[in-house]
Subunit: 226 residues, 2 copies
DNA sequence: ACACCCTGTAACAGTTTTGTAATCCCTTTG
DNA sequence: CAAAGGGATTACAAAACTGTTACAGGGTGT
């Protein structure tokens, strides 16, 4: 099931899009301004549809912010806009828009474009040829492998995802709640304590680097450069 | 270097596109009608740009013919057209267009779209017209044959496609979902577990090399150098 | 119509991963 | 210093995933 976030300050429009996209089988959330949207866990979405003209933060601005986050930079974006000049289109593409739909648009066209875009970006998942590393510890997103001194360390999926999150944001503290919302799917409810257990397991497996995963009492965990 | 084929009956337009695309670093061939284009070796191109309105065979018609050829069905297509109604856009997308540019268009917009599209579809590069091999196992894309120690192994189509995907990206992990979206057509809905069964069959047929197809629990499958 | 191949589905068994609960340990705070 | 609030560990059980086999439907060629 693909999840889509629609951000538009016209509530009616949000509802129309939500209704139509949902009847086409997508799961849709909406936000009325970029500020609200940025507070959400954007990581859960497979596609963002942003209105260009809205509130304090424009769709372009929001897209720029989103693209800076390594966790999100591959999330496709479709801009919705009344502006239809060439310059705007160029601008949208340059900051990473994957498509561009001008109002007034037909719902059918939107549905077709959304479908086409999701089909394309699904395939691209394997293109994120990224390797994050810290000293002799490195993780390869493509191969889903973890290496220490060029020796593979077998991590389970949850362990890998946690390490990826922490290592991709060195120094940043993640609360248990945040880790849960990023790595566990929405439908699953698990205890906070589950994180502890997974952290324990992860620390044990990565040997000395386990010491880099710091517990911030009362806050959560982070990977620190020590 | 990306190769592009432009098919348009307006010679001037062909030349303008060719000139601009070439100065942007692409290699460009042109054809003035679909009939000519279809006689060429289309396999060499990374992108087809088709005018909708031309000669006997329209761009749509040509696209349909191209998409039927399994060797070419992943080649992205951009339609060029003066028609700008909603129905046309829908039509284009349904038969596999990856983008759609209406005349009169600006060159800049074309360049941006071409770039964006090629970036998205680049993954398949290097897989065309080739023989991929790993030790004494090799597959020939043209002949659709699989050889082990110079002896042919009979694989079914699905088995062959899966092996081609995995072998062409050694080390990379492919989720079931990704394998489905790459090898099965969009309209067909099959279970994830179908992949498992096909993997089992494939492993059995390729003997010892079956051990190279590794299951990454929770992620999918990959072909590893062991 | 028959036989054969390809392919998807269902069912069951075997593994691995993951969550929970219980217990122990450490740190902070009054 | 002692109590209280987290956090770390461990073992166990539940859940999730995968491998394999058998079977059925669709298609093709004879």
């Amino acid at each position: 099931m693909n999840k889509i976030l629609v951000v538009d300050d016209e509530e009616d429009l949000c509802e129309i899009l939500k209704f139509n996209l949902e009847s086409d089988g997508y799961e849709v959330d909406t936000a009325l301004c970029a500020e609200d949207a940025l507070k959400m866990n954007l990581n859960q979405y497979d596609l963002l549809m942003l209105d260009v003209m809205m509130g304090e933060i424009s769709g372009y601005k929001m897209a720029q912010m989103v693209k800076k986050n390594p966790e999100l930079k591959n999330t496709p974006i479709i801009f919705l806009t009344a502006k239809d000049t060439e310059n705007d289109k160029i601008h949208g593409f340059n900051i990473g828009a994957d498509d561009y739909i001008s109002k007034p648009y037909s719902i059918r066209e939107v549905l077709v474009r959304v479908k086409a875009l999701l089909r394309r970006t699904k395939k691209d998942e394997g293109l994120k040829n990224e390797i994050i590393s810290y000293k002799s510890l490195s993780i390869d997103m493509n191969k889903k492998k973890t290496m220490i001194d060029n020796v593979e360390i077998a991590l389970t999926k949850k362990e890998f995802e946690i390490l990826k999150l922490l290592l991709g944001n060195i120094g940043q503290v993640f609360s248990r709640e945040e880790i849960l919302s990023r790595i566990w799917t929405d439908e699953v409810y698990v205890l906070d304590r589950t994180i502890d257990v997974n952290i324990t397991r992860l620390r044990k497996k990565i040997g000395d680097y386990g010491k880099n995963i710091i517990t911030r009492l009362g806050y959560g965990y982070c990977f620190e450069n020590i």
